[in-house]
Symmetry: C2
Amino acid sequence: MSKPYVMGVDIGGTNTVFGIVDARGHVVAADSIKTRKYTNFDDYIADLHKSMQRLLEANDAVDKIKGIGIGAPNANYYTGEIINPPNLPWGPIVPLAEKVSKVFGGIPVAITNDANAAALGEMTYGAARGMKDFIMITLGTGVGSGIVINGQLVYGQDGNAGELGHVIMKRNNGRVCGCGRTGCLEAYCSATGVARTAREFLEVRSEPSVLRNMEIEDITSKDVYDAAVGGDKLAKEIFAYTGTILGEAFADMVAFSSPQAIILFGGLAKSGDLLMKPLKEAFERSVMPVFRGKTKIILSELKESDAAVLGASALGWEAKYRYEDPAAKAAPATTVVTLPEQPA
Amino acid sequence: MSKPYVMGVDIGGTNTVFGIVDARGHVVAADSIKTRKYTNFDDYIADLHKSMQRLLEANDAVDKIKGIGIGAPNANYYTGEIINPPNLPWGPIVPLAEKVSKVFGGIPVAITNDANAAALGEMTYGAARGMKDFIMITLGTGVGSGIVINGQLVYGQDGNAGELGHVIMKRNNGRVCGCGRTGCLEAYCSATGVARTAREFLEVRSEPSVLRNMEIEDITSKDVYDAAVGGDKLAKEIFAYTGTILGEAFADMVAFSSPQAIILFGGLAKSGDLLMKPLKEAFERSVMPVFRGKTKIILSELKESDAAVLGASALGWEAKYRYEDPAAKAAPATTVVTLPEQPA
């Protein structure tokens, strides 16, 4: 029987979204459960299975799934495990691929982190269709990255490659980063980085700004965006500062892999010229002459509401891991032992 | 007839070295010509062919060559051309692969830059045997790099990927680099970078040093090395400074591709603990916690005298480009045209 669909599952700290996806990147149907509700991993898997099964039945797709792809924070492609995720309560290591394949009777499963899933989604259905070399940068609470070289995702020796949010942009007096070091790209160019820049600018500078009317600790990147759109000069400078650091970081990335494009995804990426103009200027000014004018900096072409499920689903087409029941494998050996001996 | 050999050719500004290499990485025989003697590219190719042919005949290897691999500055794997090389006099673009394949009657040829050739040599015959993910760093007059991911050299969209000597290590007040920008790794951690550091240290600091007995503009990295080995404190600090910047740069590279190893080659790499101790300390201190203790920093295992030829030769096994005579291809068409018309 032909298998025209995959399932994509995006596990976030708050919600788990899943959908049935066809080969053209159309989300046939989608649903979600609350990740946060489950402190026990097995309970979570049982309910996820139930909800996914219900979606499959409602869409006459029960036996039409080629594979399941899952994007989750700190999900390791090689081991199939989620390892030390910051926002999930299930313990240091959970065997995600094994459990999901098991409850679905051995359907192939593959997992990876959110940024890698985003890169796969873009390559399979979005702005990177037909590209063999590109870098996906996700600008959210943190800065994530998924790198594609020679048409393949870069996992590195341990599945953890592509941590471009953690290249060092300020080697002296850099901001403390969540990773425990200082000066990382993420500490400046994530949504939280923009808010930190706002607090820093408001403290050390004296220009007027509508941001001064707010409680300084409550300022978010959205507040800075709204102020900048309203013409606030200091808020615009905060975006210019952010874009410039991103552009300089991109120049170093290009020296590494000379990609066709760097593709931006996430809330901050939708800041328009406020971010993109200083970013592109800094990039062209900073990139090595031999690469000048070659790498496009573009936005994701996936609809934001679909992107996470689509990205995860792209992994489903190539998924290879299948759960096999150890008891089923042991059975034939037992049978042999119980056979009567042949007469001599 | 079986083809048990490849030829490796290393084109340097001064000499061109070439050799016959077997599948185990043994250089069966080698010879060289003076690159510098030839201002005309066709003369160079003619003499190179004559000399290589002589070596093949002397070793009974004329019809036993599977392919020819060539390493040269700015050699582009995709186009087969040398493009704007700084130390070769043959013009902005020379069609190296085409000319070499042509004089050898259509033997497959592949070319790449020196650092990529070094990486291939290490993967095929040296310290990277069995590795699928590693980075080769050559510390010579400049800093070159060859990157292997998923067992493949990273060429990028244009054949120019792997310019890790030109990631920015000093964003403020950085040294001018040969690439036209400022603050590049190469401006600090090449042999010339070490000499520049020596001049800078001697000018801005007041400690005694045997280096002060020399003409400041004539100091080379070798002088600094000799002084450091002799116990000179300032010279040792120059190596510590160099190693620290390299270690910090390596930490960012690991965030990109999570390689199994970073392999060092070239004169500076043989500085022993003077360089390696501060380098490894800075690397372990700087690398993101998730990668700590995973990436080995090791030295090339290829004999220096053989390394360039071996590296280039490694490319010969997979070489695909063959020169085809346009006249030969056109011949059948001509024949058809001159056939008499069939009677009706």
